[in-house]
């Protein structure tokens, strides 16, 4: 059996020189990052910058061509099941078995993470997210906000050490977004660490302890939101796009360019 590596107890996730390629196209190019325990870390980048590819490499969905992903002291290549059991994942576009009800889905994913849940516990969990009346509905019949809440519940059903959220607030109304931020904060207070990707600068500024800006597969800058603004507010490109006091969005556009990405 593989022994855990020498562990930095402060870090929950260590990404070392990761590169991901699809055929000849390099999506992630030698990225290194560390996420600390109890930290909410935001990954920002334009479309196609490499955010989802980097997250996919951490989740074990794509095999990097180089580099290491170490979660809580274990390399994902050494023991993928253990690493995956320590992570909770909410994918960008989540889909579950269409014939299964919400209750059955919760039971399925609880079983996959080795969590025993009696019906009253399932009801209590659904009550927490306001879905107790929808217990027999299939996932596809829920609204966008309800689907997102259920996805997050399923991602955290096993109290993971590390939670990975890929654009969790896309398509949500302001109320749902605020509720989600509250839930993320509660997960952190319970001892979890969170890595999320987002296009929302407001979200990054409000929720994240640190953020990294990724573009063309490389990390351009990594700081606390406040320090990121301080560090780049005098950059010519940032000043060009700023309208008044420099914001995180100005820094983001200044660092990644103003052209539209597909």
């Amino acid at each position: 059996m593989t022994q855990p590596r020498e562990q930095n107890t402060l870090q929950i996730l260590e990404i070392k020189d990761i590169s991901v390629a699809y055929g000849t196209k390099t999506a992630v190019d030698g990225v290194s990052l560390q996420i600390l325990r109890g930290e909410i870390f935001g990954l920002l980048g334009p479309n196609g910058a490499g955010k989802t590819s980097l997250l996919s490499a951490v989740e074990g969905l794509v095999k990097p061509i180089a580099g290491e992903v170490i979660v809580d002291g274990t390399d994902i290549r050494d023991n993928p099941a253990l690493v995956k059991s320590k992570m909770g994942v909410q994918l960008q576009a989540t889909s579950f078995h269409s014939q299964l009800s919400i209750k059955q889905l919760i039971k399925l994913y609880a079983g996959l993470y080795g969590v025993r849940m009696v019906p009253s516990e399932i009801t209590a969990k659904l009550d927490e997210i306001g879905l107790v009346d929808a217990v027999s509905k299939p996932f596809k019949e829920l609204s966008g906000g309800q689907q997102q809440r259920l996805s997050l519940l399923i991602a955290t059903i096993h109290n993971p050490n590390l939670l990975l959220l890929d654009e969790p607030t896309t398509g949500l109304d302001p109320q749902s977004r605020r509720q989600l931020w509250g839930r993320i904060e509660r997960i952190r207070k319970a001892g979890g660490s969170i890595l999320l990707t987002t296009h929302s600068m407001e979200e990054a500024q409000t929720v994240c302890d640190r953020v990294a800006i990724i573009d063309h597969g490389k990390i351009v800058s990594c700081e606390t939101p406040k320090n990121l603004i301080e560090k780049h507010k005098e950059d010519e490109k940032v000043k060009e796009v700023a309208r008044g006091a420099v914001t995180l969005e100005d820094v983001f556009i200044g660092l990644t360019g103003g052209e539209i990405r597909d």
Binding site: M87, F96, L112, K125
Partner: protein, 259 residues
């Protein structure tokens, strides 16, 4: 198994618990798809009902071959159209991606799917044999029923492996659906028209050794064990080769990712 609410994860989940959860979910999905299961039984029943006359039995090679033909079509439709299309759709929707980020290994996810489909195949085979034996006034011993189950598992595996090859080689659900229908029609025609020699001896020979032909030969062989021949043994071998080749293709080129 840990109880909910405990602190953060320190060990691997139990494989048995993971598999049971997956299998239960796939069984529920199968029950949810019962319309498709019923449709897979309707076609064999139509064959059984429309071939009950003496003339039809003679031209199709006898009662046992007719029941074999009916089971073949049931297994073909549920495996090549039902299974392959469901897998392609779930892959396209991201159901597999969601499962792959859990600790469950990919072999377990696929084994659960296939296991549930094997159960569906057995249900179809048993229903068709029982009704077929009744319509065609055939009395089967418990031993013969056991052999029917064994052969149905082999036949189901042949068509499941063809279905697996389809989703392995083709990505889009629409293409899998279209290709599945074309192959279904081709194999069905080989079974009905090819085997009776109406299209000449070359086609008859090709039909005999097609997946449809070998399975039907094997099926009638086990229901008439006293007349088991070399051809029956070779049909069994051919079925095994089909399973290995098509399953090999389907597994080797299967992609879990959303297109």
């Amino acid at each position: 198994m840990t109880s909910t609410g405990e602190s953060l994860v320190e060990r691997n989940p139990n494989s048995r618990v993971m598999f049971r959860s997956l299998f239960e979910a796939d069984l529920i999905a199968l029950k949810g798809n019962r319309r498709s299961l019923i449709l897979s039984i309707v076609l064999p029943l139509i064959i059984l009902l429309t071939t009950s006359s003496h003339k039809a039995q003679q031209s199709l090679g006898g009662t046992l071959l007719i029941i074999g033909l009916a089971i073949t079509y049931g297994l073909m439709s549920t495996s090549m159209l039902g299974y392959a299309l469901n897998v392609a759709r779930d892959r396209d929707k991201g159901v597999f991606q969601r499962l792959r980020v859990t600790p469950a290994p990919t072999w377990m996810i696929m084994t659960s799917r296939l296991g549930v489909q094997v159960i569906a195949n057995l249900i179809i085979s048993l229903v068709v044999v029982i009704i077929g034996a009744s319509i065609h006034h055939l009395t089967l011993t418990p031993g013969q029923y056991a052999l029917v189950i064994a052969v149905s598992i082999i036949g189901g595996a042949v068509f499941l492996s063809i279905g697996q090859a389809l989703v392995g080689l083709l990505r889009s659900p629409d293409t899998v659906n279209a290709a599945g229908r074309v192959i279904f029609i081709a194999l069905a025609l080989l079974g009905i028209v090819g085997l009776n020699g109406a299209l000449g001896s070359a086609v008859e020979s090709a039909s005999r050794w097609s997946p449809t032909g070998t399975f039907m030969t094997l099926f009638s062989g086990v229901l008439n064990l006293a007349r088991w021949s070399n051809t029956d043994s070779l049909s069994l071998l051919a079925c095994m080769i089909y399973i290995l080749v098509f399953a090999g293709i389907g597994i080797r080129w299967f992609s879990w990712a959303v297109e």
